[in-house]
């Protein structure tokens, strides 16, 4: 292609991207830059024009706050446990759906239901099902004679994190299933037939063939889910408002910013969240060796 043509193409490319780029500059880059900027100021939300620069004081103040560390621990516990369970459960359900069984289409449709339900709604439904006195789960447990009186799932400090993880698993396993299923369907059927003829037993077929070939798909799904879990806000907020038991870093940052009106410190907390997520993203990509795995799949 001639230089002139190439230049015309390049100009066309930027022209086509211009609306998207302008939109991103306005709603992503600019607010992000302002957040970074505010995190070095002592601004308050009620009068954001009146402030002075305070250096890194805000960052240190966040680190000094005991609640921040609780929120960080909660977020990490929540993200790691829920993604781990979702991966295993998602893999199991994906393998199940991948079998030639009657009702396969029905299951595939059914798993989309939890995914389509808004987080707030799912949380409310489970909150009701887990209600200590009238919840259907406790009533069933009592009927089965497993407990004599209802368990206060959402009131007790240790159980509530479990409940948050449980609801998240219910809502997001479908996403895992779909991604892993797509990976499974990219494995040529003849390879599995070859293993069958070779007399490879089921477990070995899974470990030596299915799992290695699924690695890229699982890796991508885990990365997406980890990043999503790290920014979780609505589930814990609806279930427990600002209770420290399940407070995530997103809730913490919003609290400082909106509830306490501390624009400067809230922004610093947001920036910490950003750094935390970026750090973990790099970690996950490195551990899963996604770049290399992707190369092998090709």
């Amino acid at each position: 292609m001639s230089v002139k043509l190439a230049r015309a193409d390049r100009r066309a490319a930027w022209l086509f991207m211009a609306p998207m780029i302008i939109a991103m500059l306005v709603v992503a880059v600019w607010p992000l830059a302002r957040t970074f900027y505010f995190s070095f100021t002592d601004a308050y939300l009620d009068d954001p024009t009146n402030f002075s620069l305070v250096g890194i004081d805000n960052f240190l103040e966040v680190l000094d706050d005991h609640t921040w560390w609780i929120a960080t621990r909660n977020t990490l516990v929540f993200a790691s446990i829920s993604v781990a369970i979702e991966t295993v459960l998602g893999l199991a359900i994906a393998l199940l759906i991948n079998q030639a069984i009657p009702g396969r289409g029905l299951v595939r449709a059914a798993i989309l239901v939890p995914w389509a339900i808004p987080v707030v709604v799912a949380t409310k439904i489970w909150e009701w099902m887990l209600n200590d006195q009238f919840g259907v789960l406790n009533q069933m447990l009592i009927a089965l004679g497993l407990v004599d009186h209802g368990i206060a799932w959402t009131a007790s400090g240790t159980l509530i994190m479990g409940v948050v993880i449980f609801i998240d698993v219910w809502m997001t396993t479908p996403f895992m299933v779909l991604l892993i299923l797509a990976g499974l369907q990219m494995i040529p059927g003849e390879i599995m037939e070859a293993a069958e003829v070779d007399g490879i037993p089921g477990w070995k077929r899974f470990w030596s063939i299915t799992l290695p070939l699924l690695k890229p798909a699982i890796g991508v799904a885990v990365l997406f889910r980890v990043l999503d879990a790290l920014r979780m806000f609505d589930l814990a907020y609806v279930l427990a408002a600002s209770s420290e038991q399940v407070m995530t870093v997103s809730i913490y940052a919003r609290n400082r910013l909106i509830s306490f009106q501390e624009l400067g410190i809230g922004s610093a907390a947001s920036t910490w969240v950003f750094l935390l997520v970026a750090f973990i993203a790099i970690l996950v990509i490195g551990v899963l060796r996604l770049d290399r795995a992707a190369g092998e799949a090709a």
Partner: protein
């Protein structure tokens, strides 16, 4: 090594029947090729024999033992797939030896067997490579090696050469024939390539819409096809067909067809009337218009170097292909005559079944002599 027997095997998916009551007996050590148009069920039939898909009805026996409900891995078969189905994340050596790992063989024993098979198939220099680093032909050899190492009683091939280019296909075809000569194992081979079927098979099974049209040696199929379908399927270029109108009554008919065709035939055996005639391109010769059995206009000449094909339009919608050994010096759009011997004439009735006629017996006799000599 083992025989394979199918008794009224059928397979349907929902209401869609793809295999309808197939009966077939394959002798120990035989090389049988399944051919048929795409969608005829040949690959399905192979997978039923392998046990990769369960039958809907009927019985399958391998080596005289009923295996209808036995899983694929216990049937003593090996399968070579169209896509080769090599495990993409394993080296060539592990691909070949993977089946042995689960049999509890020692590591060095596995390595020895893998090395032996690899050497046999000339892939011993590739053992540490991954499948994606191999050429198509090399992948094919590894796939065969993987099948071979299990020492199967029956080898099943599902269009194994269809992903190779034509040179390599020829080379691998010879290789597979040699393999069969060497190890003498029963082989069942699915292909849509006639040349493969004709050259490899002891017997060819022609499938159409899930039923067997005909089973026979390549010569039987070529010389005495049971139906118009088989006649059209075996031979390249395919047999020329033309509809005819009949006068007279069984067994002696007068036929009139395109291009001024007028013939008197005497049908033997079957009493139905001929509806179609067929002549193979290689049985036709170009002659002067008035000297031929029928005549038409030369439309096109194809020069393949060692042979030539003339396309002669004998009727507005009928073109006959003629194979001529020497390039004819006839201009296009010239009227030409087509000649053939009586014994090269095929007759088919309304239902597409071939009818014997007085002269066709000579051809059958000649064919069986030819076959005995071969």
């Amino acid at each position: 090594m083992a025989s394979v027997e199918l008794k009224s095997v059928s397979k349907s998916y929902g209401g869609n029947t793809v295999i309808r009551g197939v009966d077939l007996a394959i002798r120990d050590g035989e090389f049988v090729v399944f051919v048929g148009p795409s969608g005829c069920g040949k690959s399905t039939l192979l997978r039923l024999i392998a046990g990769l898909i369960p039958v809907s009805g009927g019985e399958i026996a391998i080596g005289g033992e009923a295996v209808t409900d036995v899983p694929a891995s216990k049937r003593g078969i090996a399968f070579v797939f169209q896509s080769y189905a090599l495990y993409p994340h394993m080296t060539v050596a592990r691909n070949i030896g993977f089946a042995l790992e689960t049999l509890g063989l020692r590591r060095d024993a596995i390595r020895a067997k893998v090395a032996e098979v690899a050497k046999l198939l000339k892939v011993d220099h590739l053992l540490t490579r991954r499948p994606r680093e191999l050429s198509g032909g090399q992948r094919q050899r590894v796939a065969i090696g993987r099948a071979l190492v299990r020492k199967p009683e029956v080898f099943l091939f599902d269009e194994p050469l269809s992903n190779l280019d034509s040179d390599l296909r020829m080379e691998m075809r010879i290789e597979i024939a040699r393999l069969h000569d060497d190890i003498g194992t029963t082989m069942i081979y699915v292909t849509h390539d006639q040349a493969e079927a004709m050259t490899l098979a002891d017997r060819i099974v022609v499938l159409n819409h899930g039923v067997i049209e005909q089973v026979g040696t390549p010569q039987e199929l070529y010389h005495t096809p049971k139906s118009r379908f088989v006649a059209g399927f075996v031979g390249s270029p395919r047999m020329n067909f033309a509809p005819v109108t009949t006068t007279g009554g069984a067994p002696d008919w007068s036929l009139a067809g395109p291009g001024g065709l007028a013939l008197a035939v005497s049908v033997t055996g079957n009493r139905s009337a001929p509806a179609t005639i067929g002549v193979r391109p290689e049985a036709l010769s170009l002659v002067a218009p008035e000297a031929g059995r029928l005549s038409g206009t030369l439309e096109r000449l194809e020069d393949l170097g060692h042979e030539h094909f003339a396309y002669v339009r004998v009727a507005p919608e009928t073109v006959f292909v003629v194979r001529v050994p020497v390039r004819p010096t006839i201009a296009r759009d010239t009227r030409v005559g087509l000649a053939f011997r009586d014994e090269d004439l095929f007759l088919f009735d309304e239902a597409g079944l071939r009818l014997d006629h007085a002269a066709s017996h000579e051809r059958a006799a000649a064919a069986s002599i030819e076959e005995r000599a071969a």
